[in-house]
Structure formats: structure tokens, C-alpha cells
Amino acid sequence: MPSHRQVAFIRSVAIAVVGAVVIWFGAAAVILAVFGHDLQAAAPWLALAKFASLAWVAAIGWALSWRRLDEMEKEVRKLSWFIGSTAAILLTAPIMLLWLLNGGAFLAHLIKRDTPGAFFALGWAGLVFAQLLCSLVARAGWWAVKR
């Protein structure tokens, strides 16, 4: 039998997912009704609807689940996010130095593109990935010590 905290969490996830589905299908239905069979013209709007749907999941799911965390779990997340972000900056700094050293040739070869947008995307994705990874490691470490 799940506790009421678990039930509340499941309910939050359900609200986020159902909302996203409603936004996505609702917006898609309206867009396709407006543009008819011109899928090429509708594509950017469909992409925007998809983004809105994902943004809903991210924002509502995050906000609702955060409210349901107890104080210790919030503390763990704050601490691990702080440690994770600091570690991520340190870990990704060498990539920046690598870019400075050889003008980005190696990175361009790695991502098979050399446009500013590709470099920006690589930097953003790299930092996000490093931060998530470091935060998870920090959280696991906290639980290992405090459990």
C-alpha cells in the first residue's frame, strides 16, 4: 500500500503527463485544422506545440514533485545541485581550453560541424550533462554517508 506521499507523487506525475498529452494533441488538432494538408507550413507550429508540451511536463512535474519532497530530500537536492554545478564547471573547463588551444578543430571534427550554433549546442549540452552527472554522484555520496 503506497503512502500518501507516494500517491501524491504519482498524482503529480500523472497531471504532468496527461497535461502534456492534452496540450500536444489539442495544439496539433488546431494547427492541422488551420493548415490543412500543408504539413511543411505546419511543421514549425507543430514543433512549438511539442516544445510547449515538454515544457509543461518539465515545469509542472518539477514544481509539483518539489512541493512533495520533505525537508531532508530538498536539502539533499540543493546540496547535490550546488556540488554538481561547481564540479561540472571544473570538469568542462578543459573542453574550453581545448577549444582555445587548437581553434576548435578537434571539437569540430568530433561533432562533424563547425558552425557557431553547433559549438553553442555542444557547450550547453556538455555543461548540462556534466552537471546532471556530477549532481547524481553527489547525491549518491550523500545517501551513502547519511543512510
Binding site: 520533505d70 525537508e71 543512510r147
Partner: protein, 63 residues
């Protein structure tokens, strides 16, 4: 910080999960408080004290 939470819980025959449910926290939090690995906030300390009908000082010891 030392505390008498485990003893008080045992007196009432509650499991960690039951106590967690009554305090609206996770079972892991109860365990961490009982083992002295986590110090609860003042609002949570008051909730614990009210639940057991005792003062905060009677449950938590600042050592």
C-alpha cells in the same frame, strides 16, 4: 544531535514508515534523524514534539 525518537517510536509500537507517514516525511528522513545523521528543522522538531506530546528539549539533546 542525540535524540530519543527511536525509543519514543518503539514505546508506541510504530514502524519508521508509520512515523514518517504521521510526520509527513520520508522513511529515510526518520531513519536519518533517529541515527543522528540529520538534524530536523525547527518546524519538523515542533511537529515531532507535538506528536509525542513532549517538549523539543525532552526529545532532542544538543550534544
Amino acid at each position: 544531535m542525540k535524540n530519543r525518537l527511536k525509543a519514543l517510536r518503539a514505546e508506541r509500537g510504530w514502524s519508521q514508515a508509520e512515523l514518517a507517514e504521521r510526520l509527513d516525511v520520508s522513511r529515510q528522513s526518520v531513519n536519518a534523524i533517529e541515527t543522528g545523521k540529520y538534524d530536523p528543522s525547527l518546524p519538523l522538531a515542533f511537529r515531532i514534539a507535538r506528536l509525542f506530546g513532549q517538549s523539543i528539549e525532552a526529545i532532542f539533546e544538543d550534544r
